[in-house]
């Protein structure tokens, strides 16, 4: 298998294969001696030469978060053969979403649809674990839509409204 892996903004090309239980690994064209044991789901014990690493994995949507010791690496893994893996351009113009920063409950809606806002103006208040947090407008503009009601339960990343 060949993967394109970007970790914290740096792109790597990784070729991995297994022959009779032994790994063959080529990273950015360089051969690396690798020995791996899946210690338990989401935990790999890795030896690169004789250096030992325990790598923990969290799955966040299509991204993987890899922890080596106390350092976290955010990895985006692309299979170059797959069409889905085209980088998406981020457009800063046009409508922007207001999203919930954490799972919680919408306790207050501070502004109505149609209100003018600056970047950083608080629009809604989401509460979780006894803490209230304002969801702020990401840009200067007008609130086009609020799609939740007060009292609604929301998950992290849920769209709460649109500013355009």
């Amino acid at each position: 298998m060949t993967y394109e892996i970007s970790i914290d903004g740096t792109n790597h090309r990784l070729e991995l294969s297994q022959i009779e239980g032994r790994w063959a690994c080529r990273l950015d064209g360089r051969e690396i001696e690798v020995d791996a044991v899946l210690a338990r789901p989401d935990v790999i014990s890795l030896r690169l030469g004789n250096k030992a690493y325990e790598v923990k994995c969290e799955r966040a949507g299509s991204d993987l978060h890899l922890w080596v010791g106390s350092v976290r690496y955010e990895a985006e893994v692309r299979d170059p053969r797959s069409l889905r893996s085209r980088a998406r351009a981020v457009d800063d113009h046009g409508p922007r979403k207001l999203t919930a920063p954490m799972p919680g409950k919408v306790v207050r809606i501070l502004l109505r649809e149609g209100a003018e806002v600056d970047a950083g103006t608080g629009v809604l208040v989401v509460e979780a674990m006894k803490m209230q947090n304002e969801v702020k407008s990401p840009k200067k503009g007008k609130i086009q839509k609020i799609v939740v009601r007060e009292g609604a339960a929301v998950n992290a990343g849920d769209v709460l409204g649109i500013v355009e």
Binding site: R22, L66, Y73
Partner: protein, 509 residues
């Protein structure tokens, strides 16, 4: 001895008390709200009763409901833990009326301590040192102005019914006083239903040091040494340790004897904590008394060799304190880290959710009081405290070293935790030198974050390679056979995939 104790709490403290019950041969009754059915305390208990919806007001704070469960289950005592009903005199009274022993002080002692201004009056009579200020709530802005002028700025406004930093304002100059006073009053009104606010001199860069006391029901009161709790964020404690790096035996004795006088002046029984503010000249001033078991009680347990929950139960059972003051010895050093479900990279926002992976530390000098487990979904409805990691060593340096080692073993996946914050704190030079005060953490968090030493270039390589391997596994797991296997992780190894087959062979080596 009691046969059955109801624990009117949840999370790690409920688990802590259930363990003590089982160690003493007492049956433990749990209560839980609708979102806590799968919580660890319910799994550990001998009996468990639902007490209502997620909102604490309708479940864990519902006195009638909890008393009725106590009766239904035949519990002969109730342990309130900390938070929730632990400092609620009305609840203590309801327990007494129902013929169930409340494991804690009497309602009268709680009433005496519950209001900070009322407590102050009793204390002044007992010769307890106070920070200069008003001993009563402020009647007017003009009065606040006059008092602030007399004692000098900066001054601190505090809610009389307060705690946890609510209704508190630091005022640097006269022109800030009016808006701060109004802010503190309305916050206190909202948080505690009581807008009474008092004013005192603000001590610059104070330490927060508290003294553990214990009193039996036969007039004996002892102190069990201090805890240094200066590391706070938004007035919430984050790291606690015992003993304090600055308290010597003479200061400990003076603070301890003062704390005992405080407890005795209120006719106090069972476990309590007297909090002091300590200035740079090591003068200590009475702050408040907490009439409950504290979150940070384990550090005292480790340096005294006592089990405070066992002791609470024995004393509530009417027994005498089993030792005298002279027999209390302090040995070694202990530090506690409060592991919260919050995101250090996103302004410490709460981060509830499902714990997908949990690797817990162990080994010499490490104690873990936890309310979480792998696969559990942390509810969004309560305090974000997940667990307490407590290190013990012969001395402070060893305790720090052990905690740093244990923090590197600790891994909580799927949600964000503040574990990385403790790595920063424990490796900080001022912390290691014991130079801490209540402003320490804010100053540390303002510093730009430096990388943890020199990162090993091999670590990034390991991350890239592991990412590829995990991605391969993810693909293998897409088929129906594999999906079934994913749902029961034990079977992952039995699925046909080169990777898994290899891993399995490796594991048999």
């Amino acid at each position: 001895m009691f046969k059955k104790i109801l624990i009117a709490n949840r999370g790690e403290i409920a688990v802590r008390v259930i363990r003590a019950c089982h160690e003493m041969g007492i049956s433990a009754v749990a209560v839980y709200s609708d979102v806590d059915r799968a919580s660890l305390h319910v799994r550990k208990a001998d009996e468990a009763y639902p007490v209502g919806p997620a909102a604490a007001k309708e479940s864990y704070l519902n006195i009638d409901k909890i008393i009725s469960v106590a009766k239904q289950s035949g519990a002969d005592a109730i342990h309130p833990g900390y938070g929730f009903l632990s400092e609620n005199a009305q609840f203590a009274r309801a327990c007494a009326d129902a013929g169930v022993k409340f494991i804690g002080p009497t309602a009268a002692a709680m009433d005496a301590m519950g209001s900070k201004t009322r407590a102050r009056k009793a204390m002044e009579k007992a010769g307890v040192p106070f920070v200069p200020g008003t001993s009563r709530g402020l009647d007017s802005f003009e009065q606040a102005q006059a008092v602030a002028e007399r004692i000098g700025y900066p001054v601190m406004l505090k809610a009389a019914a307060g705690g946890g930093g609510k209704g508190m304002r630091l005022v640097h100059s006269p022109d800030e006083l009016k808006s701060s006073l109004e802010g503190a009053q309305s916050e206190a009104e909202r948080a505690f239903g009581d807008g009474e606010v008092y004013l005192e001199k603000a001590i610059v860069n104070p330490r927060h040091i508290e003294m553990q006391v214990f009193a039996d029901e036969h007039g004996h009161t002892v102190y069990l040494g201090e805890r240094e709790c200066s590391l706070q964020r938004r007035h919430q404690k984050v790291v606690e340790e015992a003993p304090s790096p600055i308290v010597d035996p003479d200061m400990r004795r003076r603070m301890g004897e003062t704390a005992v006088r405080v407890a005795q002046s209120a006719g106090y029984t069972n476990a309590g904590t007297v909090e002091f503010l300590v200035d740079q000249q090591k003068n200590f001033y009475f702050l408040e008394m907490n009439t409950r078991l504290q979150v940070e009680h384990p550090v005292t347990e480790l340096i005294t060799g006592l089990d405070l929950v066992h002791l609470q139960i024995h004393i509530a059972n009417g027994e005498h304190l089993p030792f005298r003051q002279e027999e209390v010895n302090i040995r070694g050093h202990s530090i506690e880290c409060r592991i919260y479900a919050e995101d250090p990279e996103n302004n410490y926002f709460p981060s509830p959710g499902k714990i997908t992976l949990l690797l817990a530390p162990s080994g010499p000098g490490i104690r873990r009081d936890s309310g979480m487990y792998e696969g559990w979904t942390v509810p969004m409805d309560y305090d974000p405290l997940l667990a307490k990691l407590i290190g013990y060593g012969t001395d402070r340096a060893q305790a720090i070293g052990r905690l740093q080692r244990a923090l590197n073993e600790y891994f909580v996946g799927g949600i964000k935790t503040n574990i990385s914050l403790f790595r920063r704190i424990l490796s900080d030079q001022d912390f290691q030198a014991g130079k801490i005060d209540t402003g320490f953490l804010d100053r540390l968090l303002k510093k730009t974050r430096q990388a943890d030493g020199h990162p090993d270039p091999g670590a990034e390589e390991a991350a890239v390679i592991a990412a590829g391997m995990f991605a391969m596994m993810g693909q293998a797991a897409a088929g129906p056979l594999e999906r079934a296997a994913m749902e029961s992780p034990q079977n992952v190894m039995s699925v046909h995939s080169n990777w898994k087959a290899a891993a399995r062979r490796e594991s048999l080596k």
